[in-house]
Each structure stands twice: as structure tokens, then as C-alpha cells.
């Protein structure tokens, strides 16, 4: 059957099970948009900026477990996607990005809206393609989805010239994939797993550090079984949050630069670190050479290049963490580690990392904690980047798996709203909160139009402290208290919401927080709440830049709070 390249592309997306794509049309991708209405099974969400399409596809992928798809035109359309591509790639999110390109004969001639997109995205994607023949589209799309979604997930970009989208070719969807250079290791090496089990069985003070890999492989039950069987406390990296029930007695919270003080210090006392689906990132580990000095380290990850990259490793296990845990659990003996659990508990009580002064003032922490408490169980939370993100991570108290979606590796301000759009499309029955700062929200707030136009019911919390709060905190603590370019002018967010035709609320006192959150939740569609919070609240605990976890500055609390 002969079809145009654009039709072939759409046929391939249907065969890959794509239900939603996020995009923005333009000259080079027009042939695809021309045929798109013939494929009603593919829902297209028109964003207001291509970065939004990328983050929405990212949020969709994280919440659904499927490969997210973003579409843009050549040149500026593609370059606007770059931030979102890096964001997804750094956080191991499966995504296929399709960009239009100028016609083949124009490539290399500096044509209108021409950009070397495969060149630009080469170091920021898992793989990319420039398709020069419509007959290649099926193979390329098949490979793109396979590469994006398998092994360590990532972004695959497919750049297609306009005339390739227009030309006719015979359409055959390939049955198999031939990629001799791509063979992810899924099963862990049994001898290594037995070594790991042996270390676990002999350890007295082990810590599990559970990361995004648990979520990506769906190893929630296995993680819990291992922790419970061997009585090992569970710590999260930022992206690992919601891979273990927060109400579980073994759950300790997040570690790292703004992690729980008692955990950061406990890494210094631990005799065994079990890293599960993590990459020993600098923000989580502090100064690498001083990380967990007394501990042996087991590292399970699907990406062999992560093992030994940042910190030493005693027992490396390459494989899918779910498969590895299934085997590991068999070899691990039931344990009793009461003294170690008691020690952690004692440290947590003596150096509490969660404390909101009971002084009636509207602290950001109070707002975030209340949102968590008031929102029903079936809910997802996306965040931007900065203080509000760290507080959202610290005060996270939910049990639902994979309900915390944040920008970790790249740290992209403005992630919350477009990501929440994607999450809502993946999980239409759930409440979706976008928690943003006033800085980040102003970076992507134009996507309010996308919410309204498509009736995407996202609740937005703008934590407005009038500053780029985290930058201000650094300037205060490490740059001699000199505030430089951190105070923000803010629009009237209530009027802004109303201008888009959605309810807007303003909260400036504690008493209003819970009722207003409830009011926003009761709105049938999107709603925005601006919280006018204390301007100079600092986020603690904090590991000073370049310091070791053992040098964490605890949260300053009144003596009476310590137990």
C-alpha cells in the first residue's frame, strides 16, 4: 500500500499505541498536521510553546509508563524543545520527539527555519535520526519507540524533511528490530546478586537508597518486600520519591542537599549502602569521596555506565532492578535491625528536619503540607524547581506509587504546569496539582491556555514569595547576603487566572489555606491559587555546596521541639 510519508508516520504512531501527542505546527511539519485529522485515535494537544509540548510529553510518560510523544516544526520549533529534551533525557523518561525539517535539497543551505537539529540534539538524546527516505519511516519509528522505552529509558528524536513527509512510499510496518549495537542487560548476574545478599545478611547498619529506577521498572512490591524481609530502612533520592509508601515505618524520607538530616548523617554510620535504580547524583550524595566512608556499596542499575562513575562500588549489578530484586529477595535472610532503626529514630527526633513554627505566619512549608493533607488519595503532584520543590519533597507524605513528578537532573524551572497537563491526560481520574514558585510559574504560565482550551483539569499552586527563593537563599548564605537580581515583580495572579477564564484564589493567611485548597479541588476545571507566603523562608537541612553529607546544616528548631 502506497502512502505519503506523513500518513506513514501517523500509521506508525497508531501501531505503537500512541493515544496522545503534544505539539505545535509549522511549515516543515505541515504535511503531518494535514493528515493528522484522519487519525482520530491520536489525540493532539496544541500547546502554546514547544517547551510545553516536551514537558507535557514528559509528564505523560512518567504518569502512564508509556512513551511520551512531542511534535514540532523545524528551526525554532525544534530549538524550543531542547530544554524539555534534556530534562527528559537526564531523568530517564521515555520520549519520542518528532521534528519537521526543511526539504532535503535545502539542508545545509541555511534555509528559512533550518537548524541542524540532529546535530544539536546529538549529545542530549539517547539516539536520533534524520530520515532521508519515506520508506525508512516505519523502521525508524519502530526503533525510536523501542530504544526510548527499553533499557534505561530516554529521548529519541526523529527529524523528517518536509518533502519526505510528502513523498509516497510503500508502507510495511517491520515485525522485528535489528539493532546489533543495542542490547540492554535486564537480568542481573546471579553470582553478583548472591554476593550482594551476603553483604546484606552480614550488615548491621544498612541503608537502601531507592531511586527512579524502582518507578521505571515498577518494582514497588519488590522494594517493599526486600526492606521488610531484611528490616532495612529506605531512603529516597529526589526522583525516587513515591516509590515506597511514605507512611511505612521503614521509610526515612529524602536524602541529599536538602534531605533529612538524620539520613544524611546516617550515611556516615552505615556499614552498607544498597543503591537501587539510582545514579549516585552529586545533589544526593554530597562530596563523592567522603560519601558513606564506613560502608560497602552495592549498586544495582540498568545502565552500566552509572556504576563506578561517581562513587566507588563493591558489588556492581547491571540489570533491571525489578528482575534483580526478585532474585535478591530469595537470598536475603530475614533480619532484625532494631538497634539501627532505633538509632535512626533517635537521630530523627533529636534533629527534626520537618518543623513549621506555630507563629501564625504563612510559611511555604505550611502551604505545601496542607495541600498534601487536604488532597484526596488519588492525586499526582508536579513541581517546578527551587525551594518549593525541595519542601514538596521533604514534606511528601503520600503512599500512592509514582505520584510525585519533578524535574531532577536538569532542574528546569517552569516544569510543573506543562508536566501536570501531561499527567492529567495520562491519569484523567486523578487530581493533579502543579506546585510552582512565582519565578518558575512565569516561565511557562502561557500553558494555562492549553488547560482551558482542552479542559484539562489541573490545579495550580503558585507559591509566591516575591523572590527566586533558592537563589536568594544562596546569596544570603554563601554570597555575603548580597541580593542580586532575585526580587521578582509579580502580576496579579487572580486577574491572570480570570483573564484565562479560570477561577483564581489568593491566600495570605493560614486560616485560608485548607478551605481554599478545598475550594480549588471543588472547581470542575482548572483553578489557580496564589499563596502569598513569607518572603525569606530558608530551606533546611542543607548541605553547603561542595560539602559532604556529614556536614549537613540541620534545620534550626527551638529546643522544645527536640525529643
Amino acid at each position: 500500500m502506497k502512502l505519503r510519508g506523513a500518513q506513514i508516520l501517523a500509521e506508525c504512531l497508531v501501531r505503537e499505541g500512541v493515544e496522545v501527542i503534544f505539539g505545535y505546527p509549522g511549515g516543515a511539519i505541515l504535511p503531518f498536521y494535514h493528515y493528522l485529522p484522519e487519525y482520530p485515535q491520536i489525540k493532539h494537544i496544541l500547546v502554546r510553546h514547544e517547551q510545553g509540548a516536551g514537558h507535557a510529553a514528559d509528564g505523560y510518560a512518567r504518569a502512564s509508563g508509556k512513551v511520551g510523544v512531542a511534535v514540532a516544526t523545524s528551526g525554532p520549533g525544534a530549538t524550543n524543545l531542547v530544554t524539555a529534551i534534556v530534562n527528559a533525557q537526564m531523568d530517564s523518561v521515555p520520549m519520542v520527539v518528532i521534528t519537521g525539517q526543511v526539504p532535503r535539497a535545502m539542508i545545509g543551505k541555511d534555509a528559512f527555519q533550518e537548524t541542524d537539529v540532529t546535530g544539536i540534539t546529538l549529545p542530549i538524546t539517547k539516539h536520533n535520526y534524520l530520515v532521508l527516505d519515506a520508506a525508512d519511516i516505519p523502521r525508524v519509528i519502530r526503533e525510536a519507540f523501542y530504544i526510548a522505552g527499553s533499557g534505561r529509558p530516554g529521548v529519541v528524536l526523529v527529524d523528517i524533511p518536509r518533502d519526505v513527509l510528502q513523498e509516497e512510499a510503500e508502507f510495511h510496518y517491520p515485525e522485528s528490530i535489528d539493532l546489533p549495537g543495542y542490547q540492554p542487560t535486564v537480568q542481573g548476574h546471579v553470582a553478583q546478586i548472591r554476593k550482594a545478599a551476603d553483604l546484606i545478611n552480614r550488615s548491621e547498619r544498612p541503608l537502601i537508597i531507592a531511586g527512579h529506577g524502582i518507578i521505571l521498572s515498577g518494582a514497588y512490591a519488590e522494594l517493599r518486600e526486600l526492606a521488610e524481609k531484611a528490616q532495612i530502612p529506605v531512603v529516597n533520592t529526589l526522583l525516587g520519591i513515591s516509590n515506597f509508601p511514605a507512611s511505612h515505618y521503614l521509610y526515612q524520607g529524602m536524602m541529599g542537599m536538602h534531605g533529612m538530616y538524620h539520613i544524611n548523617v546516617a550515611t556516615n554510620e552505615a556499614d552498607l549502602i544498597i543503591g537501587l535504580g539510582i545514579r549516585f547524583d552529586d545533589r544526593a550524595m554530597g562530596r563523592f569521596k567522603d560519601f558513606a566512608p564506613k560502608a560497602k556499596i552495592i549498586h544495582v542499575d540498568i545502565d552500566p555506565a552509572e556504576i563506578g562513575k561517581n562513587v566507588r562500588c563493591d558489588v556492581p549489578i547491571v540489570g533491571d532492578v525489578k528482575q534483580v530484586l526478585r532474585v535478591l529477595i530469595k537470598y536475603v535472610q530475614p533480619g532484625n535491625r532494631t538497634p539501627w532503626l532505633n538509632r535512626l529514630d533517635e537521630m530523627r527526633r533529636r534533629y527534626p528536619s520537618l518543623h513549621i513554627p506555630d507563629d501564625g505566619r504563612l510559611w511555604s512549608t505550611y502551604v505545601i503540607k496542607t495541600i498534601y493533607e487536604v488532597t484526596p488519595e488519588n492525586a499526582y503532584f508536579t513541581t517546578g524547581v527551587g525551594q518549593h520543590q525541595m519542601w514538596a519533597a521533604q514534606y511528601f507524605c503520600r503512599d500512592k506509587p509514582n505520584c510525585f513528578i519533578t524535574s531532577g537532573g536538569l532542574g528546569t524551572m517552569g516544569f510543573a504546569l506543562p508536566a501536570a497537563i501531561g499527567v492529567k491526560l495520562a491519569r484523567p481520574d486523578a487530581v493533579v496539582w502543579a506546585i510552582e514558585g512565582d519565578g518558575g510559574f512565569q516561565m511557562t504560565m502561557y500553558e494555562l491556555a492549553t488547560c482551558v482550551e482542552n479542559r484539562i483539569d489541573v490545579k495550580i499552586a503558585v507559591i509566591n514569595n516575591g523572590y527566586l527563593g533558592m537563589v536568594r537563599q544562596w546569596q544570603q548564605l554563601f554570597y555575603n547576603n548580597r541580593y542580586s537580581a532575585v526580587a521578582l515583580f509579580n502580576p496579579d495572579y487572580v486577574k491572570l487566572a480570570e483573564a484565562y477564564g479560570i477561577p483564581g484564589f489568593r491566600v495570605s493567611s493560614r486560616e485560608e489555606v485548607a478551605p481554599t485548597v478545598e475550594a480549588a479541588l471543588a472547581c470542575p476545571g482548572p483553578a489557580l491559587i496564589e499563596f502569598q507566603v513569607e518572603q525569606e523562608e530558608n530551606c533546611f537541612p542543607m548541605v553547603p555546596p561542595g560539602a559532604a553529607l556529614s556536614e549537613t546544616i540541620p534545620l534550626p528548631v527551638p529546643e522544645v521541639v527536640r525529643q
Partner: protein, 173 residues
């Protein structure tokens, strides 16, 4: 940190457009130190073979290999050591050689088993193959006569027929 030294790595890659770009971009992006890179078709259609000389300590070498394996177009990486492989470089050297000194230069060329491949009234082009050390030595001996131009291919290497190249697996253990 262990000792930093030169390593010869041979990569079998799919002959896709941009594969060299992917590899060189990886080295630049991850601050790996590349000494030379030579590439050409292999014995199998559709596959190219690259010889890379890199400077790294043991951990750095491990990272280079693992990161290379992450490239979809890279099929196999082997590290070749000097005992069990042959390693060669080709150089073309244009040296000033007016008649009075030509007789001095020719014995040097012979000692190095190099060849004169082009002659002009006042200059010669010499073709030399060998290890980098040998070519460096030849160039330094010729320097006093006036070297006009040098072009070198970078190292190419192959495991000896009697030895099996050690395929460096990403440490999956």
C-alpha cells in the same frame, strides 16, 4: 586515581551518517582525552572500524568504554595492548633536500625503512610507517634539514593473529 596512560581502543561501528560525530561529541562532552582517531571500512559491509588512542587512568578508561557502548551504533569495543597487537601509523613528511644534503638524508630514510615517494629539485616526500615513537624519531632526525610539512594518520591497530582481542565488556560482572 590510578596512573594515566595511553590506551588503544578499537571500535566496530555501524556505518551510519554521523557516527564519527557521535563518538567525537561524546569525547568532547565527557572531557575524555583523545590522542588520535583513525577510521575506515571494516571487512564486513556496513561496518566501520575505528582505532582510538586515549589518555586515561583505569577508571577513566572504564567510563570511556561504557559510554561508547551506550551509543546505539557502536557494536563492539576492544582494548588492544602492545604485546598482543600490532600498532602502526603512517606519516608523509616533506623535507627540504637540495642536492648537497640529499645524500645525507637517504641513509636516514633507509635506516627507518621509509620510502621516498616524490622528488623535486629541492625537496623530498618521505612515506614512513611504524609506531608513533619511530615516526617521532624520524621526524626529529629530519628536522635539521628543514621539514616543510607533516601529515600523520594516527594509530591503527589490530590484534595479532595468534591473540584474541580482549572485548571490553561494560562491567556487568
Amino acid at each position: 586515581m590510578t596512573e594515566v596512560k595511553k590506551h588503544t581502543i578499537v571500535a566496530l561501528v555501524q556505518d551510519q551518517p554521523g557516527v564519527l560525530n557521535r563518538i567525537s561529541s561524546l569525547f568532547r562532552r565527557r572531557m575524555f582525552n583523545i590522542d588520535s582517531l583513525a577510521v575506515g571500512p571494516s571487512e564486513r559491509p556496513g561496518l566501520s572500524r575505528l582505532t582510538l588512542v586515549i589518555k586515561a587512568d583505569a577508571d577513566g578508561l572504564e567510563q570511556v568504554v561504557k559510554q561508547l557502548y551506550k551509543l546505539i551504533d557502536v557494536i563492539k569495543i576492544s582494548e588492544l595492548d602492545e604485546e598482543t597487537s600490532v600498532q602502526r601509523e603512517l606519516a608523509l613528511i616533506k623535507v627540504s633536500a637540495p642536492a648537497p644534503v640529499r645524500a645525507e638524508i637517504i641513509p636516514i630514510i633507509d635506516i627507518f625503512r621509509a620510502k621516498i615517494i616524490d622528488v623535486a629539485p629541492d625537496a623530498l616526500i618521505i612515506e614512513a610507517t611504524g609506531t608513533e615513537d619511530k615516526i617521532d624519531a624520524l621526524i626529529s632526525l629530519l628536522r635539521s634539514y628543514g621539514i616543510q610539512e607533516v601529515v600523520r594518520t594516527g594509530r591503527v591497530a589490530m590484534s595479532r593473529a595468534s591473540a584474541r582481542a580482549r572485548a571490553v565488556q561494560a562491567r556487568s560482572a
